[in-house]
Symmetry: D2
Subunit: 372 residues, 4 copies
């Protein structure tokens, strides 16, 4: 138990500024809330976007870190998992970063599209320092009442963080892809979301999984996650890539293409790489990089194609992804990804490593911060 | 019964040439085939595209006319409807223009996407004069073995032709739109497909149906088919149109948008006019008009949008559309559309009337040809 | 505005006892709650079951009446509809009787099956007098914080109550039936749920709607709601009924059968009346009447049948049903049902009328109670 | 190539009679047909039913054996796979036993339920000796024009036959079960279909797979195919089995239950073992064993359960199952099942071994027949 009243935190003051360390007060816990001592917190591509000011509505200064694992150090009153089991102090848990989904608005209640609920808040992104310890790059996180925690029984913290926020994102995309047994699934992108998408496609019953990405070490990783074959997009033209996909699919294109790149031109390529009457899921376009042209006759209407945007995730994705991690195969797949560890004071280095794709998965270890 | 051996037919010799009348020989009927004496045959926007050479793989010279109604004058052997009931000479029928779907290829048998079967042929489009009387702008049509005929009990020829080939096209699009009870459905386009889409959305349980199109008389027709409100796109900017849709949908956009225009820019508009987590069906892009830009972040990924190309139709769409026409409400809706009748020798005028949107529905009446 | 502090209420003291009138105190309103002055409240088959003690977990004494319409007389703080529009005192509204769906449990969050959330409470059924004015057979209802109200703009109170609690129940069943355009839909039962199911099937694009029920006047009503044909089950054996359905469906059986009877034997009949590869929805078995035999080979496996139980409803069903009522056709269909009105002191008579199927729709009008 | 004109075949003369060997003439091949030299042919539970006369419409005498693998010895003209690739003499193939699906009837064309097409014929079951060499317990099989063959590249004949006809049956059932990532799937039955269902559930993304069956060696096999845990139904009451399932599922029951037993009472158990709003697939009831009682309120309606009969399979199931067998994991799973081999003259012994559950998978090896 912390004996002082402050938590060392890495704060992003505003876009285009360095992360700085601050001592922030521990919260007064209200009924149904808890204090989580952070063991590991993720450094994600979104954090790079945050530092570059690419996301709208971010209340800087913020404590980044939307996916974290730690130990419940103090609970005020009782908090429960979805099975109705109470959490205890000392439990090792993670929690769904998305909170305050309202369950009152039209999107939640009529459209049943809660990932578009306008009231959602996200730890490490849309909560700011003003809201308290609401990001993972800190010794402690304030678990607000109603936040969904989940125990990590049977999953090591390292294996869980190897997936991190790509787990709910990728499982949602793969769920939305409606993969059928024996399908050929093409993943565009070999970043964390692309790699997890490869693994989930593998677990879902695809018989052939192709990955187009870069650099070489990530493509090697894609094979460890279950890719049948890979292609380095920096070494092949779009036309070559299309030929490659068609050569593997009797000339037809992929049954399912999942775009996880972040590059707008990958969206129209995804449509061209798909077979007639196939499905394309777009999950890589989380920031605005402008417009891209496509041919609605050839790439969409005549193809009888389904193109599905995929935004965010809800508790079910988070829960089911962790259930998959608990399986022997899930553990084997994600434990192939090694973590690059950084202290709180090395947060700027961690962001650079992610921005430059030097690390597959960079992680902040707040407890090592004191030793700096 | 015809006492001579020839049928007067309107032939499209090649792109950009006038239709010309030819006397063509009646076929020798083989087992399971029939001869249909044509009562009415449709002049459709696709026929205008055919004359302009906009479709690939057309074996000119052809007899246009893919949707027709007539009387079975002669049957060789037996032919049956899907219920196993035999047809008799004298039955008034229509037939599915698409034939030779193979039921042997991967698209038919594994993907179950028979509208993308590469072996399909279409009366009036991909059959040529060399194949015999395979288009409706003729006194007679040769009904090949295996062609799906359907009786028109309870539906007048006029009401059926008022829908014509827009019936299976629009019912397929509306089926693919997954309309829920109470949805707001936005139809882009007020041509035959747009009008039939309005009617089917109406029959499907949408509570609000909006139509953006032109000209004024077609928008009036959209209201007769069930549109709650309409907007003339020639008189409002895209921004005004978006404001209009949002003003009716609590600021959210349409639950479902069905694009039936033929204009590529309508595709990206359809995406912008849709609500978050809504559905967009693209059914108007039957010919290639080049590329159009869109924003994959704002219009697709962040919106969590479903965009669905819709190509062709199969027998089920044809059958179900006619079943809907048999209902009291179906009859009431489509009988609001009046036919503009043309003889075979007026086929060029009919094409002009369609090309210039002067007629909502132009029809060739081959039996009146002789009196010219 | 009420000038005293008490509300006259019809209380069901315990099973098998008469309803009695009581004066109950008006609640202290807490933030986000409201007081509804009741205009009309439904007497439903469930209320008969409640009086007979057929439902488990009912906290007698209770104020029955789960579906009501009235005027918001007093609001404490602010309450909003799902569009974010505030309610005002004087607004005429109804509200979703189901409350306290938790949005925290496994059923809500992982299975997305909120109608099976174990924390749900229902006005007029699982709230008791101890919980305050929580049933509609009363001058006032206490609208707890978070209860979903909805305005009835464009719908008369009478038309809404003509549907009453059958609206969300039947729309849910029809939604779950996946009716396709042109389907033949068979409704078993001609009580309120059966009649509303006929109407929703009609609005959904079925081309033929059959209803088997009794007595004669209800079957006449089924035709007003859109049934193509009806059969009185009291006058025909099961075998005759099957022959009747098959004679209308080319020998195949109904595409969709929706069971709304309450009689267990109707469940196995529903399976037999369905066509191969059809769908059966079971929505009439709200109380336990014991076991019934069926043949799993003939009636289920060989038939490749889908049988779907349908329990309760969520806010979306309630919202969408009222959106359908706002349409011209919705109004026309439900306004064919006339209300039988009873004062609070006539509640026992109202229950008898429903139990004996003398009234299609019995309604309590609390404001007329004082004049007794 | 065979140099004589006769094929030794094991013929089932009529129900309740021993199999007898007959020399039958090789067929004259017509255009698009072929002669398959049989390597291995399955002995399936259905063959036991055939011998006991439990199936309707069987044209005895027949040559049993509906799933076989062999070598194309002679092809008349050309035959193609679904990719349009021609088969060559010498290719090792299997073929879909179901033939003559008509693609003309209402079930095929409107309902898209081709497994209920009344025109289907099945090799080894509904073809008789009169139709030629139409069963696999023979040196040769006559591959009629239009029969769907498939190459077994990358799959050994042994591994393929280890699955045999349980492959399309089980993959269809698992496809129909709509398994979600992380689901708990309960398989009732540990015969060939049950074991393959365990494997496909494993490949589909279930995180927990339970199997209730018998005897012990089959339950051991279920674990090799991916079952997390098993229970011997002969040693536990139904109540104990229910407790066991609930103890593993937080008291809720299985997300998905797939019944593969053949025992009617397993159908109502499957409904009780399922969780609220779960799915139950019934695939074990291929013969008529009479009625069984269930409680429609408790087991179906209140549970909001989906119960889905699953009959037969189509080409897609066959194709996709073999694609799964080609994967490394597919091969690993099914290669755990060892074949018990029998000559043609030992066919009666093979049937007994299957009837008494002594063999998991009995196989006829026709080429070894001559050495008897």
């Amino acid at each position: 138990m912390t004996d002082n009243k402050m938590a060392l935190s890495a704060v992003m003051p505003s876009p285009d500024q360095d992360i700085e360390l601050r001592e922030l007060p521990l919260p007064e816990l209200e009924e149904g809330s808890a204090l989580l001592k952070v063991e590991l917190s993720e450094v994600c591509g979104t954090d790079v976007h945050l530092q570059r000011g690419k996301l709208a509505g971010v209340p800087y200064p913020i404590i980044p870190g939307h996916v974290s694992v730690g130990v419940l150090e103090k609970i005020h009153g009782q908090i429960f998992d979805v099975h109705g089991e109470p959490f205890h102090e000392g439990d090792r848990v993670t929690f769904l970063d998305v909170h305050e989904t309202c369950h009152q608005c039209w999107h939640c209640m009529v459209a049943k599209a809660s990932t578009r609920c306008p009231h959602r808040k996200v730890y490490g992104i849309t909560y700011g320092v003003e809201d308290g310890l609401t990001g993972g790059w800190s010794e402690y996180i304030y678990i607000k009442p109603g936040v969904h925690c989940i125990r990590l029984d049977g999953v090591s913290s390292e294996t869980y963080m190897a997936g991190g926020c790509s787990l709910p994102t990728a499982i949602h995309a793969v769920e939305r892809a409606d993969i059928a047994f024996g399908d050929t699934v093409l993943i565009l992108g070999s970043g964390p979301v692309g790699l997890s998408a490869v693994a989930f496609a593998n677990l879902r019953g695809a018989s052939t999984i192709l990955c187009i990405g870069a650099p070489t070490d990530r493509l090697k990783h894609a094979k460890l996650m279950g890719a049948s074959d890979t292609l380095d997009f920096t070494k092949h033209t779009e036309s070559d890539r299309l030929d490659w996909v068609r050569s593997i699919t009797h000339g037809r294109g992929a049954d399912v293409t999942i775009e996880c790149t972040g590059a707008p031109q990958a969206v129209s390529q995804a449509m061209r790489f798909a077979r007639d009457a196939g499905r394309v899921v777009i999950v890589g376009q989380y920031t605005d990089h402008g417009e891209v042209p496509f041919n609605p006759h050839l790439d969409l209407n005549k193809k009888h194609l389904d193109v599905r945007g995929c935004w965010g995730s809800d508790y079910s994705h988070f829960h089911r992804a962790i259930d998959m991690l608990r399986t022997e195969r899930g553990q084997a797949l994600w434990s192939t990804i090694k973590l690059d560890r950084y202290t709180l004071s090395q947060a700027n280095d961690a962001l650079s490593a992610v921005a430059e794709a030097r690390a597959i998965k960079a992680i902040i270890v707040p407890s090592s911060a004191n030793s700096d």
